[in-house]
Each structure stands twice: as structure tokens, then as C-alpha cells.
């Protein structure tokens, strides 16, 4: 009991410490490292709280994918000193923001300390409601059935996000491939990693997505790993993204929400209405949606990280690529 308490205390101090370090960091690169470290420590906190699904998501998306995106921004801002100093808030603005954050933190603490104890919870109901669906993980039951509409709309938001990022492109680059071109690395650690890791990573990603029905894991976490397994060879110059006007890429991104929507509407015909599953066939349908969503999450995250199209490949260089 005391050991557990001591551990929790250390965790809390470590999270606060890395967060403070991130804020105080002198270089942008150090701040990103601090941000990722805070995210990873936070995911350990979630494990301690028994929320393994949240921990996995925090590590994969909160620390991993977001960290990569910010790192990428830092790399692209290199040399843009004038732009950065123009966009940096003044000392007074920062002081005001800090004051506001402290105030919000203070009232939040006040509110949380006054919450009813024991907290009213739907955990029992969710647990009881997951058995008829054949799902061992109640979190999946909540995401796919009880609050299926939230998940459906969030998956649609992912498509919105990709489209929003693409629409920031310059007009004449429309039709090009997303992101910059990386030089092909024939040797070196990155090249080795980009060749060795994906076979393992893809299996792990699919496993994490598959196991989500009965244990912690699922489409978002698995999809993130799959996206990373594409990003790696892309950065090493071994793989090239398809053009954003390629309908196969677009279908991959929209497949998850489209499948979810179709299964949901089919509920009118074969079950109890929108987003309800026929009792005998619930788990296969949920797995079908999860599979399509894993693909879409992976494709969407990869596109979000790569960014808007930055070049338009002339036809001859496309042909040279295929060689």
C-alpha cells in the first residue's frame, strides 16, 4: 500500500517535472522531447489508474503521432528565425496565459475535490452490456455499440482533418503527392530500421487492432503503429506516397467511416434500427468495422503527418520510380 502510494507520488512529481521542463526548455527540439516524455509518463499514470486502453492511446497518439508532427514542424521551421520571433507571444501575453492556466487549474482542483465519492459510474452497466455483443473488452463495447455514434462521427472527423490539411496546399500543387521528398538512404541506421522494422511492426499493429475486441487495444492504437510502419520507409526514401487525387488512397481513408455507416444503416433492416447489431452476428460485424477503421486510421494518420501535397511529379519521374 505504502509502496504503491510512494510510486504514485513519484509518478505525479515526474509528470509535473517533465511538464515544467518542457515549458522552460530553451530550444524547440528539447521542448518536443519534453512533450513526448510527458506523454509517455502520462500513459504510465493511466496504467496505474487501470485505464490501459487510454494509456495505449495516449502513448500512440498523444505522445507518438503528435510528437512526430511537432518534430516535423520544428525541422521545417529551421532558419525561419524572423517568422518564429514574430509569432512568439510577448512576455506579457505569456504571463497572462500562465495566470489563466493557473486559475483554470485551481478551479478544476476545487471542483474535482468536491466530486461525489464514490463517483457515480456506468461501468457496471457497460460491463453487463458488453456480454450480449460477444466482446470481452467493455471499452470496445462502449466505443462500438453503446456510444457507437461518437466513434462513427470521430472517424468522420478524421476524414475532415485529412481534407482540411490537403486543402491548405498551393493550387498548382494539387494532384501531387503529400509531403516532401526524402533522399533515398541506401545504408545507415535509418535505412536498416526502415527495412527491418515494418514486417514486425505491421504484425504487431494488426495484432493490437485485432485483440481490441477482448483486451486493451483497438483500431486507433493499432492504426497508429501501422501508420508509423509506413512513415519509416517514407522518411528513409524507400517508399513514396501516392498522389492525393488517387481514388484508392481516398477510399482507404474513407473506408472505415463508410463501412461503419453502412453497417449502422443496415441495422434498420436486420436489427433494431440504426447502429444496432443483430445479436447472433454482432461480433463479426464489429470486427469488420474495426478492420476497415484500422486501415483508415493508419492511412489518415500517415497523411496527416505527411501534410499537404508539396510537389507535382512529372510523368517521366513517376515512370522512373516504378523501375
Amino acid at each position: 500500500m505504502t509502496a504503491g502510494l510512494l510510486f504514485d507520488l513519484m509518478m505525479a512529481l515526474a509528470v509535473l517535472g517533465t511538464a515544467a521542463w518542457t515549458l522552460a526548455a530553451r530550444t524547440q527540439f528539447a521542448a518536443v522531447i519534453g512533450f513526448v516524455a510527458t506523454g509517455l509518463l502520462l500513459s504510465l499514470v493511466w496504467v496505474r489508474l487501470g485505464a490501459v486502453d487510454v494509456a495505449l492511446t495516449e502513448a500512440a497518439i498523444g505522445a507518438g503521432a503528435t510528437g512526430v508532427i511537432i518534430l516535423y514542424v520544428v525541422a521545417r521551421l529551421r532558419g525561419g528565425t524572423a517568422e518564429i520571433s514574430a509569432a512568439t507571444p510577448s512576455r506579457a501575453q505569456r504571463a497572462l496565459a500562465a495566470l489563466l492556466a493557473v486559475a483554470v487549474g485551481g478551479v478544476l482542483a476545487l471542483a474535482v475535490l468536491n466530486l461525489p465519492d464514490p463517483a457515480p459510474s456506468l461501468a457496471e452497466a457497460a460491463l453487463a452490456g458488453s456480454a450480449p455483443l460477444g466482446l470481452g473488452n467493455p471499452v470496445s463495447a462502449v466505443l462500438m455499440a453503446h456510444r457507437g455514434l461518437d466513434t462513427l462521427l470521430e472517424s468522420v472527423v478524421l476524414v475532415f482533418a485529412v481534407l482540411a490539411v490537403w486543402s491548405m496546399a498551393a493550387d498548382h500543387r494539387w494532384g501531387g503527392a503529400p509531403g516532401p521528398v526524402f533522399r533515398r538512404e541506401e545504408s545507415g541506421p535509418l535505412s536498416l530500421l526502415a527495412r527491418v522494422l515494418p514486417p514486425v511492426g505491421i504484425v504487431v499493429g494488426i495484432y493490437i487492432a485485432w485483440v481490441g475486441a477482448d483486451a486493451p487495444g483497438g483500431k486507433f492504437q493499432g492504426g497508429t503503429i501501422l501508420a508509423a510502419m509506413w512513415i519509416l520507409p517514407w522518411i528513409a526514401g524507400l517508399a513514396r506516397p501516392p498522389s492525393i487525387t488517387d481514388w484508392r488512397l481516398r477510399l482507404m481513408i474513407a473506408a472505415g467511416p463508410l463501412t461503419f455507416l453502412c453497417v449502422g444503416l443496415a441495422g434498420f433492416a436486420v436489427a433494431d434500427g440504426f447502429l444496432s447489431y443483430p445479436p447472433s452476428f454482432a461480433k463479426p460485424l464489429i470486427l469488420l468495422i474495426e478492420a476497415a477503421m484500422t486501415l483508415s486510421v493508419a492511412a489518415a494518420l500517415a497523411c496527416l503527418i505527411a501534410g499537404p501535397p508539396e510537389r507535382r511529379l512529372p510523368p517521366e519521374s513517376m515512370a522512373a520510380d516504378r523501375r
Binding site: V107, N114, L115, D150, L153, L163, A254, L261, L265
Partner: protein
């Protein structure tokens, strides 16, 4: 306990049809995206009309329990009068803007897909889905997802021109919108911790005036008014809305800010306990009154037409907050009038403001600039557009027989009846100032053209879309009273 009502499936359709259309348009692209969006928005208008008729006929809200999972474990879609009226407004404005957008974002047969057109035709049904989620959602977390949908859509629409100069004001808008979303989410989390449910109908009448509820209410309100650009959180709006292309500005000012408004009404008059509403309502109305005066005065001084119209949005959004203290009053009749007035203000502003932004866009295209001082000759080249702008302006001023008149008259009456006469002074002052800036534009447009001014004619179909919106905002004022009863169905 919520039960699925007859016709509840219409709500599912109102949400899934535009979402599906967006996804299909996203995959198909080019000319297909345009046709899918136009077709879907036309059907969406029919669905919205069917929802409104059904709510009106049955006199009770429609509901649909999703997947058969009862709240609090599951969730429900609900359409009361407020939701039905806003849905119908959204459908009318979106279809008009889509028809208008055929001018600038047309992809002719055989032409290659272009960036702006693709984004426009995908984000129109996306906005429809986001609005349906915001208006029909019955669950506080589901409404958060709706807010996210609205934010992404609004941001992309505002950047449709792809001008780097626009990115700065959009980045500021994004910052405000995201901070607003985070504050809303924190509040929703606190409410779940306190009551074990996020279902609005279950929370109604059950909340206590304790610390977690007050903090949650304060955080969510702050987040929502940041998204609605209420004074003093308004300064992101004018550059963001005015810098966007006309079709996008019309949607941003007319519809997007109304999504957060409906959420704020749900929070204050369904979720929060009565004592909080009684005390806080006056604060919101005071901020709204300041917005009316400051927004109108700043609008009067603008040199650019689109910025003027955008500042007018800041002022007109202020009127929406005047209903809060009036609704909390003991006088049931007056409260009912305030409710009707407030919702009508939202509807008539959506129609009038979208017409005015589209008209401003046409004027800018025709003259090649939008300087208020040299609009001379505009009325000669495009009388329909100038008339549409003036009609929209009449509605904003609150002159009869416009929808804005009915709205402002009801608010005025309610404020006198509840003994809060000071709000009526604000309403009258705002009307006068609005008259001032609308007169400035119309007078300038009626002036003879300056020597050397070359004004191009604009496409007639586009002018007619603008006129249709402006006329709709006028027709709202001559609707028979029983039609307005729709808004009262399921009112708090």
C-alpha cells in the same frame, strides 16, 4: 426514459445523409463531388422540412434512441422546436450557398479537379453533418464531437482561397476554437463525474448548485462564447470571416456560430440549475449588450464592406444573449416571448447575414474592390444584389415586416414586461446604429458611378440565390403566428 418516437428515423437520416455524401464526394472527387453535394443538400432540405412539419404536427419533440441503447449508457438524438427550426434554417442557407457556389466552384465536364472546388463541395455536406450533430445531439459528449466537426469545417472553408495572408487570422481562430473545445470537454468531464450521465434529458432538473456543477458550467460557457465571439472574445471573428471567400463567409457568419449558440442554450436551460441561470444570465446579457453597441459602432467606421458585415455579426450575436436573463424571469408569458424572440433572431440573422455576405462578395467581384466609399454605380449594374443587401439590412435593423423585426420586438416586449427595461434601450440603440451602417452602404451603392469606374455585370443565377435568402429573412416576419409555435415545442 427516452423512447423512439414515430418519425424518429428522420433524425438519423438528417445526420447520416450529409456525412455519407461527404465521404462519397471525398472518394469520387472532381465533378462527382459537386453533384453529390448538390443532390444531398437538396434531399437534406426535404428531410429538415419533414422534421419541422412532424414536430409542428405532433406538438412534441422527436427522439431516436441509437442502437436501442437507452441513455445513460447509450444516447439519443432529439429534435425539439429549437432543433427543428435551426435545422431548417441550416438547410435553406446551405442549399442557397451551394447554388451560389456553382458560379465560382464549378468543375466543367472533363476538367481536372481543382483544390478549392474539391474542398468546397466536400465541406458543404460536412458542414450539414456537423450542424445536424450539433442541433440534434442529446448527449454532452456527442455535442463535443459536433463542435470538433464544426471547427474543422469552418477552418477549411475560411482558408478556401488559399491566400497565405489569410492563414494568420485563421490560426488565431483555430486557437480560440480549440481552447473553447478543451474548456467544454473539461466541463463535460466534470458533469459526468458528478452525475454519472451526459444525457441532457437525464441531467435536466437533477443538477445541484455545487462547486463541480458551477465550475463545469463556467468552463463550458467560456468555451462556447469564445466560439460565438461574444465580447470581449470577439476579435478573432472579423478578420477570419471577412478574409474568407464570400460563400464561406456566409456559412461562417450565418451558420457556424449558431451551432455553439444552440449548445449554450442546451447547457443553460436544460443542464444548469435554476439559481445559476438566474445570476449568470444578467452577466451574459451585459456582455451581449456591450457587443451590440461596440460591434455596431466599429462596423459604422469600417472602410471595407466585408469587414463591416463581419463586425455587424459581432453586434447581432450580442442580441442572442439578451434572452438569457429574460428567460429566467418569473413571468411565464414574457419568458416564452423571450425564447421565441431569441431563436427567431438566430434564424433571421442566419438568413439575412448570409445574404449580405454573398451580396458583398458579388459587389467586390463586380467592382474589383470593396471600399465602402466608392461603391457608386453598384446599384445600376446589379440592382437585385443591392436590393438583397438592403433587405438583409432591414432585418438586422429590426424594421417591419422582417424576421428581425419580430425577433427584436418580442425581446423588447419581454424586457419591458419583466421589468428589465434597460435591455430595450440597448435593442433600440443597436437598431439605430445598424440603420446607420446599412444606410451608408446602400446610399453609396445608389450613388452615380465615379468617372472611370468599370463595373462588370454578375451572373443572374447568383444574384437570385442572394435575393432568395434575403426574401426568406423578410418572409419570416409575415409568417402566421401558429408557424412560429414550432419554436415553442419542447421549450424550457
Amino acid at each position: 426514459m427516452t423512447a423512439t418516437t414515430p418519425g424518429g428515423w428522420l433524425l438519423v437520416l438528417a445526420l447520416t445523409l450529409p456525412a455519407g455524401a461527404m465521404l462519397l464526394g471525398f472518394v469520387a472527387g472532381g465533378r462527382h463531388a459537386q453533384r453529390i453535394a448538390l443532390g444531398a443538400l437538396a434531399i437534406w432540405l426535404a428531410i429538415a422540412l419533414a422534421v419541422a412539419l412532424q414536430v409542428q404536427a405532433s406538438g412534441a419533440p422527436l427522439a431516436y434512441v441509437i442502437g436501442g441503447w437507452q441513455p445513460p449508457l447509450g444516447m439519443a438524438l432529439r429534435a425539439d422546436g429549437l432543433a427543428a427550426a435551426m435545422l431548417l434554417t441550416g438547410a435553406v442557407v446551405l442549399l442557397a450557398v451551394a447554388l451560389f457556389g456553382q458560379g465560382a466552384y464549378d468543375t466543367p465536364r472533363g476538367a481536372a479537379e481543382t483544390r478549392a472546388a474539391y474542398a468546397f463541395w466536400c465541406f458543404l455536406p460536412a458542414l450539414a453533418a456537423a450542424l445536424a450533430a450539433a442541433f440534434l445531439g442529446g448527449d454532452l459528449f456527442n455535442l463535443f464531437v459536433a463542435l470538433e466537426m464544426l471547427t474543422f469545417t469552418a477552418l477549411a472553408l475560411a482558408c478556401l482561397d488559399g491566400k497565405p495572408s489569410q492563414f494568420k487570422s485563421e490560426l488565431r481562430y483555430l486557437l480560440f476554437a480549440l481552447i473553447g473545445s478543451v474548456l467544454y470537454l473539461l466541463g463535460a468531464g466534470l458533469l459526468y463525474g458528478a452525475y454519472g450521465t451526459l444525457d441532457i434529458a437525464l441531467l435536466a432538473g437533477r443538477t445541484r448548485a455545487d462547486a463541480p456543477t458551477m465550475v463545469a458550467g463556467a468552463l463550458m460557457t467560456a468555451g462556447l462564447i469564445a466560439k460565438m465571439a461574444l465580447f470581449p472574445l470577439h476579435f478573432w471573428l472579423p478578420p477570419a470571416h471577412a478574409g474568407a471567400p464570400a460563400a464561406a463567409s456566409a456559412l461562417l457568419s450565418g451558420l457556424v456560430v449558431k451551432g455553439a449558440f444552440v449548445l449554450l442554450l442546451r447547457l443553460w436551460f436544460w443542464v444548469l440549475p435554476a439559481p445559476v441561470v438566474l445570476g449568470g444570465g444578467t452577466v451574459l446579457a451585459a456582455l451581449g449588450a456591450t457587443a451590440i453597441v461596440i460591434g455596431s459602432v466599429v462596423a459604422l467606421r469600417q472602410e471595407r464592406l466585408k469587414l463591416l458585415v463581419a463586425y455587424s455579426t459581432v453586434a447581432q450575436m450580442g442580441y442572442l444573449f439578451l434572452m438569457f436573463p429574460l428567460l429566467a424571469a418569473a413571468d411565464a408569458d414574457a419568458a416564452s416571448r423571450a425564447w421565441l424572440g431569441g431563436v427567431l433572431q438566430a434564424v433571421s440573422h442566419a438568413l439575412a447575414k448570409s445574404a449580405m455576405f454573398l451580396a458583398a462578395g458579388l459587389i467586390a467581384v463586380s467592382l474589383g474592390h470593396d471600399r465602402v466609399t466608392s461603391l457608386g454605380g453598384a446599384a445600376r449594374v446589379m440592382p437585385i444584389t443591392v436590393i438583397a443587401f438592403a433587405l438583409g439590412g432591414l432585418s438586422l435593423m429590426g424594421l417591419p415586416p422582417s424576421g428581425g423585426f419580430t425577433a427584436k420586438w418580442l425581446l423588447l416586449r419581454a424586457s419591458v414586461e419583466t421589468g428589465q427595461w434597460w435591455w430595450s434601450l440597448v435593442i433600440l440603440t443597436g437598431g439605430l446604429l445598424t440603420g446607420g451602417y446599412v444606410y451608408r452602404i446602400v446610399a453609396a451603392a445608389l450613388a452615380p458611378p465615379a468617372p472611370g469606374c468599370v463595373a462588370r455585370a454578375v451572373p443572374r443565377p447568383q444574384e437570385l440565390c442572394v435575393l432568395a435568402l434575403a426574401v426568406a429573412s423578410m418572409l419570416l416576419g409575415v409568417l402566421p403566428l401558429y408557424a412560429l409555435g414550432l419554436v415553442r415545442v419542447g421549450a424550457p
